[in-house]
């Protein structure tokens, strides 16, 4: 079991995350434009523009190319009879165990972008924590939700 959890999330997640990255970069870009206009209007130091451009470039590369790819590569999950195992993280890689017996309920969620790509996010709640698996195929998410629900209901205290 201790080798990495078996399943990866949908490959289309990459596209969705890239779109998120583009939106984020666009927002920063608009802010940068506004600041640039202000700089010219009020005669603030011009070097700020270059710094902003550089930051924008770095952020764009990071949030559109670097982060989605690495995040996708890291994301793994596995649902077993007794527990759910997750692994994710960009710089800090986290592995999580959630016993079935602790699962209180499971939700699926779908934002507009996820919907367009037929993806859904699953969130698993215990009495104290919430765990998300982002961007699964719609059918896969639905199937998983049912499976976890069923397994959680039959799970008995084993201790």
């Amino acid at each position: 079991m201790l080798n990495e959890p078996k399943n990866r999330i949908a490959e289309k997640a990459l596209v969705v995350w890239k779109i998120h990255g583009v939106i984020q970069t666009a927002v920063f870009f608009i802010i940068a434009i506004i600041v640039t206009v202000l700089i010219f209007l009020y005669d603030w130091p011009k070097w700020i523009i270059f710094v902003m451009a550089l930051l924008l470039l770095i952020d764009g590369y990071f949030s559109i190319f670097f982060a989605p790819k690495l995040r996708w590569k890291r994301w793994r999950y596995e649902v077993r009879e007794q527990e759910i195992e997750l692994q994710h993280g960009l710089f800090v890689v986290t592995r999580t165990l959630v016993p079935m017996i602790r699962v209180q309920h499971v939700d699926t969620e779908q934002g507009p972008i996820l919907k367009k790509y037929h993806l859904a996010t699953i969130s698993i709640s215990t009495a104290a924590t919430v765990h998300e698996i982002p961007a699964l195929d719609e059918e896969e998410a639905e199937h998983l939700r049912r499976t976890i629900s069923r397994l959680a209901r039959v799970a008995d205290e084993d201790v």
Binding site: M1, L2, N3, E4, R80, Q82, E83, E85, Q87, G89, F91, V92, V93, T94, R95, T96, L97, V98, P99, M100, I101, R102, V103, Q104, H105, V106, D107, T126, A127, A128, T129, H131, R145, R146, S149, A152, R153, E157, D158, V159
Partner: protein, 516 residues
Amino acid sequence: MSEKKRLHPITIVLNTLKEIREALIPIFVTFFLGTENEDGFMGSTFFTLLPLIIILWTIFSGFAHWLRFTYRIEEGELRIEEGLFIRKKRYIPFERIQSISTSEGILQRIFGLVKMSIETAGGNGEAEATLTAISKEEAGRIKEALKRLKENNRTDVADANVGDVQQLTGGPANQHMKVEGDVLQEPLFQQAGETGEVVYMMSFKEIFFVSVTSGGALGIIAAAAAFLSQFDDWIPYDRLFSEAREYIAHGLIIAFILGIVIIFFAYVIAIVRSMLKYANFTVEKAEDHLIISYGLLEIRRITVPLKRVQGIEVRENLVRSLFGYASVYLISAGSNSREEGFEHFVVCPFIKKEKISGIVEELFPDYRIDVPTHPIPRRAKYRYMVRPVLYLALPVAIGVFLLKPWGFLLFLLFPILAFIGYLAYRFAGWNITGDQLMLRSRFFNGRTLYTLKNRIQAVNVHKNWFQRRKRLGTVDATIMSGFGGTVGRTVDLDEGDLLKIYQWYSRTKGDGELNL
């Protein structure tokens, strides 16, 4: 008991006092404005009258709130109606009531009354309903009525609970909720005169010592240090003329002495307050719950069902641990005491470390307190020492920059921080004994969390880039407590130890590596 009832009239006084306390700052502000603005545009009369108006208003409002507040028990619900301009009706179904607790303030004690707090599942902090002052007999009657009604439809109630929670989460029917018996279905009715076997009591000496070393009192000392340091920074001696300097210097000395006197008194008051609060601290064990009671003027009684306890935490504050003392807290699901920011129940505020295991293991036979600590590997020592330095590097840099040249003294903080880090390194560790997990960590205060496998909601292990290079990792175990959870965490464990904890928690046994 279906007729509408009012609270005891003393509630008017209690309401008024509460509102005055809230209005204290505006009253002071307007009062001082009134004395300074002699010929201001509003005139002084308005400003001196304003406090009076506010006080009259609070009395009126206290009275009106009392008049408009009614409660009754009807159709299996506790129905409360209140509100002056906006009428608020709150109907609480019995099956949602988690616990009822009573406490007595000074005024309540004089008139032989109690304050009753009613808590429901899923409440997020505040008590769902508070009956500020009712007679003890009335309190008994309410408890009886609830108990009777609950016993009548116990089976219905269990079903209703599940339904309720589903409704709360708004999930479709196939999303089930697992309701643990000890969380929702066992409401607690605390009997006023109920007693059990006394398991722990604090002596006068201990209460005194806990008060002297409490955070509040130490906070005042810290404030004193801050106060004294103000003098050097803000008074520009050199720019003042010599005559004025002498005059100011006198003023300063007087202010200085006055400051010290004030701080001393504040410290004494803090000690006295804390002593009054913890006086008669007693822990009793009745069949399936603990009763913690303390206080001299205001008696607090907290009932904790043993089944709901999720973990035990031993806290060692820097000063107390020097003398070999620590505090023991219970972490309970749906805790109903949030007084003074206590997220958890304190069972032993002040106890010799050697004695903890005796008391705790008697109350909770599943726990083992005196277990050896597996230490943090030596290669993590450097990380432990650097971490607190990094946390404060930016504030110190800013301080040095702003407070030149004395700001350079702030650099002295670094060795102190590194030493604190070293202490944390020595303290931290873990242990697994049977089904019990122990996690130790420290920043200023040492924290040792004991919990059981079947109480842990989820376990996380993680590594960042630097940890990976040194084959170290962090473990988090989350348990349920009140709203949200409590996380036990130990940083920079050896990779192998991390794997052991992970495997211990996993229901699927197997070999391999974590591959983080």
